[in-house]
């Protein structure tokens, strides 16, 4: 039953086809434009960083290393970074998760929850240097404490909180309401429900978010510059005296004119990138292995 009079379907006109093709090319080019700097950064860091990526680099500090000398390492910086980030996590993670619990479990529709949620978003965009200035103005200048790793950790924790809140909030929202209701139906009080039913269900997702937050603050330099100061000696005590951190080490060494210092900067950059990429990778693997129970 074909109708003989239908005009034959003509294909897409040349002009439209051309436009479609050229946009496709542009979009591919855009993606290539993003990959080029990524590959370039990673390649130069690996290539130049491997030169000093040796045993001495991880076991020695820069104490007593003259301006022109080779050798020396970033042990003091690695210790500092680990301590500062650990302290920042201890402060930021509980506050972040509790805030997320408030937003999801208690607040939901209340006005306060909306305000908190809005300002968490705003805080995500807080320039890191402003967090450093705040700790400088408050902790160092007003309260009169001196430069220390802990001051740096305070600044880092401010940068970490919004990321933790957002990650935990997303995961808590995914926990099915049936689970909560089942728990309530058994007469379990609300806080026990949250601690022993809701949080464990969302656990892997929250861990992923926390690791990404740690990876983010680990590379922050600007706030540490204002709060931790710079030293070339090992200082294991984060609560007293200036410390060092890996990003600060890179910044400090990169600003020097000698090749030996520049090499150390590259090696530190490689160390930092390896740690951050590992954190990222593990976080993604955890997220993929056990996705939270969703609808």
């Amino acid at each position: 039953m074909s109708t003989p009079n239908t005009p034959a379907l003509r294909g897409v006109s040349a002009g439209r086809k051309f436009k479609d093709r050229s946009v496709q090319v542009l979009v591919y080019v855009a993606f290539a434009l993003a990959v080029i700097p990524l590959v370039s950064v990673l390649w130069t860091v690996i290539q130049k960083g491997s030169k000093r990526f040796d045993g001495a680099f991880f076991t020695h500090s820069l104490n007593g290393i003259g301006a022109n000398d080779a050798g020396g390492g970033a042990y003091h910086a690695i210790i500092g970074t680990v301590e500062q980030v650990a302290l920042a996590s201890i402060i930021a993670i509980p506050i972040g998760i509790l805030t997320a619990i408030y937003l999801v479990e208690y607040g939901r529709d209340s006005r306060l929850a909306k305000v908190v949620s809005f300002f968490v978003d705003v805080m995500t965009g807080l320039p890191s240097i402003v967090a450093g200035l705040f700790i400088l103005a408050f902790w160092l200048l007003l309260l009169g404490f001196s430069y220390s790793g802990f001051a740096g950790a305070l600044a880092l924790s401010i940068l970490m909180m919004p990321t933790v809140v957002r990650a935990a909030e997303e995961m808590l929202k995914l926990v099915p309401t049936d689970l909560r209701e089942a728990s309530y139906a058994l007469g379990v009080p609300r806080w026990r429900t949250i601690c022993f039913v809701v949080l464990p269900t969302a656990f892997t997702g929250i861990i992923t978010g926390i690791m990404l937050a740690i990876a983010r603050v680990m590379g922050e330099t600007a706030p540490l510059l204002l709060t931790v100061f710079v030293t070339s000696a090992i200082n294991n005590n984060a609560f007293e005296g200036p410390q060092m951190a890996l990003p600060l080490f890179i910044f400090d060494q990169a600003g020097r004119p000698n090749d030996t210092a520049i090499d150390r900067a590259w090696a530190a950059a490689l160390t930092l990138i390896v740690i951050i990429m590992l954190l990222n990778l593990v976080a993604r693997v955890i997220a993929r292995l056990r996705k939270p129970v969703s609808r």
Binding site: Q24, V27, A30, A34, Y102, L141, W191, G219, L272
Partner: protein
């Protein structure tokens, strides 16, 4: 339908507005209060940032002999302190806006590529590759920029100056690598992942019926994007770009390392020189005295206010869009 029942269930279980924080038991009360307290603590931190920056900025501002908003000088530790933010504000805005102009089209292209052009199975992996750009710390971008990219940009600057020197933007007498343009390109690379990941999210929310309707009308892929995707995602893309702008405005270390700072306002973006709020703080903090620190805190306060406004506008646009969808 499942989502509908879930919503109902959620509001039923979690209670409406009047629902109290606890059942009255001690453990419950403590937990509810500490959860609420953490939320309030976050608000207090934001407020404290503003309050303490203002408190520490005021003495320096009082000592300032020049006009803080219009002066181009920066010598706060002189016997007669004179400092102003005009050149800092100019350099910050110029570099960020150039970065935004460079990054936005590319970022939206990336988002379109991942959402509509790439093979389905690769999409999330490719998104992860772009997100890796965000994982690289800014100090590493700074090191890369200083050691690797600046020499490359020096020849680009020579080329642009030689061929397009008649355009005022590319003019000036001694062009070089450590310029506002180089800083802007590095910033553009850093804000790419933010803009593209938010745009991608918006594109994925485009109602499937709209896309299918356009396809059924015989539209090519580009026409689908132009008719169904871009109009839907416009406000989302605007706010993504603004969030990118907020990030670029506050970026510190990469700019401080790449830019060779110089006083004064100049539109010649190929010339080494210019300065930004954040870079100025990072570069001069080590030598700053008492008034100097106050002056830096005052300039940081201005930066804080600017980024706050940009971020709030961006979030407000997103929030308004949510109500319509």
């Amino acid at each position: 339908m499942t989502s509908e029942t879930l919503e109902q269930g959620a509001s039923g279980a979690l209670g409406g507005r009047e629902r109290k924080l606890s059942t009255g038991r001690l453990g419950d009360r403590l937990f509810g209060i500490s959860a609420k307290g953490s939320g309030i603590l976050l608000l207090l931190i934001i407020a404290a940032i503003a309050v303490f920056l203002i408190a520490k900025a005021i003495p320096a501002l009082k000592a300032d002999k020049a006009n803080f908003l219009t002066s181009q000088a920066w010598s706060p530790d002189a016997a007669e302190p004179r400092f102003g933010i005009l050149q800092l504000a100019f350099g910050t805005l110029l570099s960020s806006v150039i970065a935004l102009i460079l990054a936005t089209p590319v970022a939206i292209g990336i988002a379109l590529f991942i959402a509509f052009y790439s093979p389905r199975r690769l999409a999330s992996g490719l998104g992860y590759v772009v997100d890796l750009l965000a994982a690289v710390p800014s100090v590493v971008y700074g090191l890369w920029g200083l050691q690797f990219f600046v020499p490359k940009m020096a020849s680009v600057a020579d080329f642009l100056h030689g061929n397009f020197g008649w355009i005022p933007l590319f003019g000036g007498d001694s062009v070089g690598g450590q310029s506002i343009l180089t800083a802007a390109v590095v910033l553009a690379i850093m804000i790419l992942p933010i803009i593209s990941s938010i745009s991608r999210e918006v594109f994925l929310q485009v109602p499937q019926p709209n896309v299918e309707a356009a396809l059924a009308l015989g539209a090519t892929r580009w026409e689908v994007i132009r008719m169904a995707v871009l109009p839907f995602g416009r406000s989302g893309m605007v706010s993504a770009a603004m969030l990118g702008l907020g990030r670029a405005l506050g970026e510190t270390i990469a700019v401080a390392m790449v830019l060779s700072t110089a006083a004064g306002i100049s539109l010649h973006i190929l010339k080494p020189g210019g300065n930004t709020f954040a870079a100025n703080i990072a570069n001069t903090f080590g030598m700053a005295g008492n008034t100097g620190r106050g002056a830096l805190i005052a300039s940081g306060l201005v930066l804080f206010v600017i980024t706050l406004i940009v971020n709030m506008l961006a979030r407000a646009i997103v929030a308004r869009r949510k109500e319509f969808v």
